[in-house]
């Protein structure tokens, strides 16, 4: 069975191959940027859901898809894609549920990445 954790390890290993001018991996810097940016995005999604702003939900979901996919967070990326579809379909109930799922999924991703960083 393939690794079905919250993060695709292969993607993170690719990111770990990116180095700075001294040849040092910049993975730590990238992870910090990602982990620092997502909570703000989730807050924005919460606000958009609270105000029933379907356009904002769609935009935020699109933007977060890119970040999540770049860090191998495939579960998050899938949820974001579903969220966009629900926003397009004006299905606020589904959107609300998906945003809650995203919060949970991000906690799993965060834990995985923090553990990966600690073991690296």
């Amino acid at each position: 069975m393939e690794d079905l954790g919250p993060v695709d390890k292969g993607v993170i290993e690719q990111l770990a191959s990116i180095t700075d001018g001294e040849g040092e991996s910049v993975l730590g810097e990238l992870l910090t940027a990602f982990l620092g940016a997502v909570p703000g995005r989730l807050d924005a999604l919460d606000r958009a859901v609270a105000s029933s702003d379907l356009a904002a939900i769609g935009d935020q979901a699109h933007s977060l898809t890119g970040s999540a996919a770049s860090f191998g967070a495939r579960g998050m990326a899938d949820l974001c894609r579903e969220l966009r579809v629900s926003a397009d379909q004006r299905d606020l109930g589904t959107a609300r549920r998906l945003v809650e799922d995203l919060h949970q999924e991000f906690l799993r991703v965060q834990l995985w990445l923090v553990n990966f960083r600690a073991s690296a």
Partner: protein, 318 residues
């Protein structure tokens, strides 16, 4: 290479910029198409890696803007699309995109694609350099084709073209001009006594003196054989004054004249001056007639063509 990385998501932008930097290139992050275009306008750019879907200008529109520029340098354009976006990829390539990457961009893929991009931009750069070289050669050739190789003065072709320009200025802006046709006195004896190389050298030296005496707007040509034509944008009095100054300058520069009959031992010129009147042919003919008069009156002197304007005091030289 200088690589612009365009993505509205700061995290994705950071990842791409770091990846580009780790491959030895200079990353130029831009948050949207407008910022990317500003960079393109102000700095040398080799490659653009752009997200397709962005607020404001799409990646495709950015590519179209870049392709519409009137620039000789080629910018390699890579579009980043979603996995299920093959139609957009096709439309992008058709619209001038060079390569498509699928999101999320794997650093290794980016490395491969940038290697291709470097090869292509290098080829374009060499083509552009060759084109610039050819353009320079064309300019050089055009100049060479209009220069008399012996004296470095303009040749007959250059003279014909310039006279047309002088003439149209005269017609349009009433700018007068005149011509002075110089001939080396007893030139044949130089060739006969000292050989043709000595004759060539004498011509070169006379041309050098004439060039020194001219102002920027004045032009000098090898009219044929040992005849040199000077065109000056001025009224006939000033043309005649300049022509006589040149005649004296050549005499004073004491260029040896072997085998010359008569008392003079240095090279001298006779000159016929004519104001631009009638048409180009009749003006040249008038100068030639005046030159013949100067010769027949004893050489080493100037004659001014008979026109409405006469300069008897100058024509009475030396």
């Amino acid at each position: 290479m200088n690589v612009i990385v365009v993505d509205d998501d700061p995290v994705v932008r950071l990842v791409l910029a770091k990846a580009v930097g780790s491959m030895g290139h200079t990353a130029m992050p831009a948050e949207d198409g407008a910022e990317a275009l500003r960079i393109v306008e102000t700095q040398p750019v080799d490659v653009v890696v752009s997200d397709w879907m962005m607020p404001g200008m799409s990646g495709l529109e950015l590519c179209q803007h870049i392709r519409a520029r009137d620039a000789i340098e080629y910018i390699y354009f890579m579009l980043v699309t979603a996995l299920d976006d093959s139609e957009h990829a096709l439309a992008g390539i058709a619209a001038g995109v060079d390569d498509c990457l699928v999101k999320p961009v794997r650093p290794f893929d980016l490395r491969l694609r940038l290697m291709v991009a470097e090869r292509v931009t290098d080829l374009h750069r060499r083509l552009a350099e060759r084109q610039r070289g050819l353009e320079r050669s064309n300019v050089d050739l055009a100049a060479t084709a209009r220069q008399d190789p012996l004296t470095g003065l303009g040749n007959r072709l250059k003279m014909s073209e310039d006279l047309e320009i002088f003439w149209s200025r005269r017609d349009r802006y009433h700018e007068p001009f005149g011509v002075a046709l110089f001939d080396i006195d007893h030139f044949k004896s130089i060739n006969d006594i000292a050989g043709h190389l000595a004759g060539d050298e004498a011509l070169r030296q006379v041309a050098a003196v004439i060039r020194r005496e001219l102002r920027e707007a004045d032009m000098a040509y090898r009219y044929g054989g040992e005849e040199l034509l000077v065109v000056l944008p001025a009224g006939v009095r000033r043309v005649a004054a300049a022509a006589d100054r040149i005649r004296k300058a050549v005499q004073n520069s004491a260029i040896p004249h072997p085998g010359r009959p008569g008392p003079e031992t240095v090279l001298t010129l006779s000159v016929g001056v004519a104001a631009a009147e009638g048409d180009i042919e009749s003006t040249l003919l008038a100068a030639d007639t005046a030159l013949y008069k100067a010769k027949s009156e004893g050489r080493n002197r100037m004659a001014v063509a008979e026109r409405r304007v006469t300069v008897p005091e100058l024509a009475a030289s030396p």
